[in-house]
């Protein structure tokens, strides 16, 4: 590794050093505010490092990692999500009796894992990234085991996520082994190499399928979604926010690189499999969400549905086969950004509410009754998040949905588009149900909320709210960034 490569790797090194610095700091001073601040500054420095180096060209750092604009821009997004997750955790952890500071080490490690996954163009680094992300996450999911009303579900969620990660990793590893048997190399680009219809093609197909199944667990595509509601419910709200946005986005970014840029275009069978999973995710996610009366479980199923929507663009992108200036891959990128800000906004509000009164942590929808009158600003923020998830114009969600539909139209995926419309129409009901509950007059005794200094978290909620609206009203900058990222692939 020469100095150029080291220099290119700086953003990742910054993130890695955050976890080390935070760990050392904890050994000397246990100050929650300081630790949170250091984490936030470190992650912010990582974002700045990523964005400043956009346009610096492509540097292959060892055979494992590639630093191109795609890596830089999506790492910036990943780090932004992590920054939000540590920001929203402050008020939440402050109100709990749990040991607070270690959360930030885990978060920084998870962020690093996500970045490595995004930057990887080698199966080894892919595996390191995904494991770093998952191992940190299952500690985070089970973080609040000692306190709070929801400790049972927390433990259940943590264990479930751990087992699920184990299963998905074994699928991944076996898939990688089969691909290796086909190509004799672990670089993901080798899939694109032309090969005649030999016996070894079977290895390639089965291997790719198993890798996809491993990813499908992480992305909670139907039928690999079973863990989602339990883990979402059990995890502390800021962790759920990170899990729902950051963990999914890193995996999806890898999929763009793996499936589209490397273009394993001769696997029609896989395309059909993806189509079936997309239909299942869109329908089952929305149908199951209809039945929930727990906000966190509802959001879990809604994220299943949204992952299904994104698959429409993914399938379109695989069909196109090329990446440059193409609507379908752009659609995935834009939808990722939109989905991330909306989900983070929803969970930021949930975290702040849970900081005020731990009973919100259970997610019972009846607790949100009359929220508009008790906490108007938080209710309005939650409105914005939900209207975005519905896909209302002038919110980020609409731009995303618009892109997905255009991608589908471009590739004439009529069946999937119909399912997308049916799914979105079903989705209206449960999102509106939450909005209605918030508008209802409070009944009986109001939930007593502890006074918490919410200024710090309030700024985050305000920022996220503005970005949901900004992306909706003025999407051009985001589109340009995504195009820039895709061009470098």
């Amino acid at each position: 590794m020469d100095i150029v490569q080291l220099f290119a790797l700086i953003p990742l090194l910054v993130v890695a050093s955050v976890s080390v610095v935070v760990m050392l700091l904890i050994a000397f001073v246990r100050s929650h505010a300081l630790i949170c601040l250091v984490t936030c500054i470190g992650l912010f420095a990582g974002i700045v490092g990523c964005l400043l180096t956009v346009g610096d060209g492509i540097t292959q750092v060892t055979p494992l990692l590639i630093m191109d604009d795609f890596t830089r821009i999506f790492c910036a997004l990943m780090l932004g999500i992590s920054l939000a997750a540590s920001w929203m955790a402050y008020a939440y952890l402050e109100a709990s009796e749990e040991i607070k500071e270690e959360y930030y080490i885990l978060l920084a490690l998870a962020a690093l894992g996500g970045c490595v996954l995004i930057a990887s163009n080698h199966f080894a680094s892919m595996f390191i990234g995904i494991e770093l992300l998952s191992v940190s996450l299952f500690a985070m999911v089970g973080y609040m085991t000692h306190s709070g009303k929801a400790s049972d579900v927390t433990l259940e969620g943590g264990v479930k996520y751990m087992i699920m990660s184990g299963v998905s990793s074994s699928f991944l590893l076996f898939g990688v082994a089969l691909v290796y048997a086909h190509s004799g190399n672990l670089s993901i680009d080798l899939l694109a190499a032309p090969a005649g219809p030999t016996l070894s093609d079977g290895y390639l197909i089965v291997g790719t399928a198993m890798i996809l199944i491993g990813m499908a667990f992480k992305l909670s595509w139907v039928p690999f979604h079973m863990w989602t509601p339990d883990v979402y419910q059990g995890a502390p709200a800021p962790v759920t926010g990170f899990l729902a946005s950051g963990a999914k986005i890193a995996v999806f970014a890898f999929l763009i690189r793996f499936l589209i840029a490397s273009g394993p275009d001769r696997i029609e069978l896989l395309l059909m499999g993806l189509g079936i999973m997309a239909v299942g995710s869109m329908l089952l996610g929305n149908l199951m969400a209809l039945l929930q009366d727990n906000l966190k479980r509802l959001l879990a199923y809604s994220s299943v549905a949204h992952m299904g929507y994104m698959m429409v663009a993914l399938i379109a992108a695989i069909q196109v086969g090329s990446i440059s200036s193409d609507i379908a891959s752009e659609a995935i990128g834009v939808y990722m950004v939109a989905y991330a800000v909306m989900t983070l906004l929803a969970f930021a509000v949930l975290s702040l509410l849970a900081a005020r009164n731990p009973s919100y942590e259970t997610g019972d929808i009846q607790l949100y009754r009359g929220l508009l009158y008790r906490h108007p600003l938080m209710a309005i923020s939650l409105f914005v998040a939900f209207l975005g998830l519905i896909g209302m114009p002038l919110t980020a969600g609409f731009v995303g949905k618009y892109y997905l539909m255009l991608a589908g139209v471009d590739q004439q995926l009529w069946g999937l588009l119909w399912v997308l419309i049916i799914g979105s129409a079903l989705g209206l009901y449960y999102y509106l149900k939450v909005i209605l509950v918030m508008c209802k007059e409070p009944e009986g005794e109001a939930v007593a909320d502890a006074p918490v200094r919410s200024g710090f978290a309030g700024v985050l909620i305000g920022l996220l709210c503005l970005s949901v609206l900004f992306v909706g009203v003025h999407p051009s900058p985001i589109i340009e960034w995504i195009q820039l990222a895709l061009v470098s692939l």
Binding site: M392, M405, V409
Partner: protein
């Protein structure tokens, strides 16, 4: 630019009302009023331009009176493209007038959370003005959707006993159908892109798209469904009786007066001009649906006991004429459609306003609990009679002109449909007069005797505006049809199928 000014002043006044609502309800009311006045002042030059244009026979001005275009999303050729021809000018004027009416009706009825209410009211108005003036399809869709949310909140927060159900139904019907429109819109843009190599959402550009194939028919259906839900026409009318009944009076006025007109406007502006062949081949079915709407809804109206529900079904029946008029697609029927839209806007606003006033006084909307109201509240009763006979289509009032012209135009296109729809004019007196008979004549019931005060001054002012409007429209429809004539002529020529013939 004036159109953007109108929308911005309404939005700004909405925020002002929200902020001042924290201080006092009065301040919120007056800032809402101020916003409407400013919007009217900004809009006035456009109206004057339209009037002078209408008077000079061979005007060389463009049909588009006020046009503004600013880049929005260059990646997809999306612009902030606003323009208004005579049709849009008439409808925007109606929107502003009914804005005043709903403000006046809210003056005393809305006492809680005033700031938020006027915020929602003004945002709805801004959204509707946007729908009437946006000529970029993307922008049109944005306004189309955005006006839903404030209306939804108005029903949810200030509505009556069953408001959550009604609001949910309203939102799901309109939103789900507009998803189809969004898809159709994207396919249309994609078609245009492949045909010309230019990606654009502008209505003017998309007019050039060749939509004659079977795909064009499906696209037309996508638009049609979204507009007919909003209109509403049978069989997708189900949301309307609930939404109207449960909304507070100002909400009902906005819904019936102008939100329904956005559906009609959409049919007028998009279906025939963009898909002439498909629309021509779809005409028989649309006409059947229109006739069914007229007759079936009139029958249902007759069976209602809830006065607001009755008026709501009557609206559906009247909107059936609009469907007929548009699909007849000739100059008489189209102008009649516009007259019908304005007249129905005024008369249904009057009916809903009075239903609201009655509910304030009697605390019921059930007709069987009313009775003998005339001697107790003569002024209110007389006005009720006026709006009821306006709705049933008495010659000399606006609705008659509209329905007559629609039937005349429809007869040229499809005599059978015109004959059947004319039966609606027989059914209309039945449901309109039943209100008077059950509620206002006869013996007073125990419920109707209590606390009944007659109209006060601002209520009279509110209703007087509507009365004058209906009479002027009835005796001098040329005043309005003159405004829209050139725009309508232009539009009509766009909608005539080149191959098959209109």
């Amino acid at each position: 630019m004036q159109l953007i000014g109108v929308i911005i002043s309404l939005l700004a006044a909405g925020f002002l009302a929200l902020a001042l609502g924290q201080v006092s309800a009065k301040a919120a009311r007056y800032s809402a009023l101020a916003g409407l006045v400013v919007a009217t002042v900004i809009f006035f030059p456009v109206l004057m331009l339209a009037i002078t244009d209408a008077n000079s026979v061979a005007s060389t001005n463009s049909v588009w009176l006020a046009q503004a275009s600013i880049d929005w999303i260059p990646r997809f050729g999306i612009h902030w493209l606003f323009a208004a021809d005579g049709i849009a000018v008439v409808l925007i004027a109606l929107t502003l007038v009914l804005g005043y009416i709903s403000l006046l009706s809210a003056w005393n009825e809305i006492t809680e959370r005033c700031g938020l209410f006027y915020f929602c009211l003004l945002f709805t108005l801004a959204g509707v003005v946007g729908v009437f003036s946006a000529l970029d399809l993307f922008l049109f869709f944005v306004f189309w959707e955005v006006m839903l949310i404030p209306m939804f909140l108005i029903i949810v927060i200030w509505g009556h006993e069953n408001r959550y159900y009604a609001a949910l139904k309203f939102f799901i019907y309109t939103q789900a159908s507009s998803l189809l429109m969004l898809l159709a819109m994207l396919v249309l843009v994609h078609m245009h892109w492949q045909q010309t190599g230019m990606i654009s959402f502008s209505w003017f550009d998309l007019l050039e798209t060749d939509t004659s194939g079977s795909l064009g028919f499906w696209l037309m259906l996508g638009f049609f469904v979204a507009f007919v839900v909003k209109l509403p026409g049978v069989p997708v009318h189900n949301w309307l009786p609930d939404a109207h009944t449960q909304a507070p009076t100002p909400g009902s006025i906005l819904l019936a007066g102008i939100l329904l007109k956005t559906g009609a406007y959409g049919l007028l502006r998009f279906i025939f001009p963009l898909f002439p062949e498909a629309a021509a081949s779809f005409t028989p079915i649309a006409m059947i649906l229109g006739v069914i709407s007229v007759l079936y809804a009139a029958k249902l109206a007759f069976a209602q006991n809830d006065i607001k529900r009755l008026i709501a079904y009557a609206s559906i029946s009247h909107m059936g004429f609009v469907t007929l008029g548009i699909f007849a697609w000739n100059m008489v029927s189209l102008q009649g459609t516009l007259v019908q839209m304005v007249a129905h806007g005024l008369s249904s606003a009057g009916l809903f306003a009075i239903a609201g006033l009655l509910q304030q006084r009697l605390h019921t909307r059930a007709l069987d609990q009313m009775g003998g109201l005339w001697p107790q509240i003569p002024r209110l009763s007389a006005l009720m009679m006026f709006f009821a006979i306006a709705a049933l289509g008495l010659p000399g009032l606006g609705n008659f002109v509209g329905e007559f012209m629609v039937l005349l135009g429809t007869f040229q296109a499809n005599p059978l449909a015109a004959i059947l729809a004319a039966l609606g004019m027989v059914l209309a007196p039945v449901y309109a007069l039943i209100i008077l008979q059950k509620g206002f004549f006869g013996e007073a019931t125990a419920d109707s005797k209590t606390s009944s005060d007659d109209l006060v001054s601002h209520e009279i002012l509110m209703l007087a505006i509507l009365v004058v409007g209906l009479i002027v429209l009835g005796f001098w429809p040329g005043l309005m049809t003159g405004l829209s004539e050139r725009g309508m002529l232009d539009l009509m020529q766009l909608g005539i199928a080149t191959g098959a013939g209109g």
